[in-house]
């Protein structure tokens, strides 16, 4: 059983590992994302050059960000930076999971930050779909 702690600069350690929940990418996930970002490209709904529809390349970004919520209570944080590398197209029906690790934490101009690397894979094949890194600023109390 997980004992959740409130996230803070002191509570997070470099090297700490995170794992997301499994997610089966569903048609409704695609519809919701398309509405939220107002991007209705036909490759996401009809056919694509990859053979059949794909989903928005950044659709799984929140799975990476939400990994921390499986260990910590995260009331608020400001997203400072994000890096992506898109390896393979993502499709509806894939079962995907993101794993990550805190690679740095630092103070800059009186504010505290944590840097997390992540890799998102299709669980049934082990294929890496995307990877990247995000930097979050801890919210002052």
């Amino acid at each position: 059983m997980i004992e959740f702690r409130r996230i803070s600069y002191d509570a997070v350690q470099v090297g700490e590992q995170f794992t997301s929940n499994d997610l089966v990418v569903k048609p409704e996930d695609l519809d919701t994302f398309a509405y939220a970002v107002d991007d209705h490209h036909p490759w996401y709904f009809e056919d694509s050059p990859f053979g059949g529809p794909i989903v928005h390349p950044t659709l799984l970004a929140n799975q990476a960000l939400m990994m921390r919520h499986n260990k910590f209570v995260v009331d608020a944080g400001l997203h400072a930076a994000m890096q992506f590398e898109f390896i393979e197209p993502i499709r509806v029906g894939m079962r995907v999971r993101t794993r990550g690790k805190v690679v740095d934490k630092y103070e800059k101009r009186g504010r505290h930050y944590m840097v997390t690397e992540f890799v998102t894979t299709e669980e049934d094949t082990g294929q890496i779909l995307l990877r990247g890194q995000f930097t979050q600023m801890f919210f002052p109390d």
Binding site: S48, A61, A76, L78
Partner: protein
């Protein structure tokens, strides 16, 4: 994979801008509604010092993706990269405009990596996000 020919893309070429009015309902869909969230709980956002709930920075990265897919198609979906800095908060009710300009073309094996500088401005002309994205074109 069928790639866009790099000869059709010019350095310093401005990409078509994209306007993005952002509603609270869109933020709710993106982030998922929950209490004590600066994205979907107006009272909590005010408590944290914001006049309105904030759009997640990641929403803006989706606009970059839209711009890059329009430019490079398959060469961004498979082989694309993005490096984003979120520099100002985006609030519910803001309208962002996404801009991009081709900065360089670099050989990458038998292909060409096209590098785009991008930035987002809100309705007051304030930059909210800057960065660089790239993807593959044919040589």
């Amino acid at each position: 994979m069928s790639l866009v020919a790099q000869q059709t893309i010019a350095i310093d070429q401005d990409l078509p801008s994209i306007d993005k009015p952002i509603s609270q309902r869109q933020i709710d869909c993106y982030s998922g509604v929950r209490p004590r969230s600066i994205h979907t709980d107006p009272e909590w956002a005010r408590k944290k010092g914001f006049a309105a709930p904030l759009a997640q920075g990641m929403m803006s990265s989706a606009y970059v993706s839209q711009m890059m897919v329009a430019l490079l198609g398959e060469g961004f979906v498979k082989g694309g990269k993005m490096n984003v800095k979120f520099i100002k908060p985006v609030l519910a009710g803001d309208t962002l405009t996404m801009h991009g300009r081709v900065r360089e073309k670099q050989p990458e094996g038998e292909r060409t990596r096209v590098v785009v500088e991008f930035w987002c401005e809100n309705q007051d002309g304030i930059k909210t996000m800057v960065g660089e994205a790239s993807g593959l074109a044919s040589s």
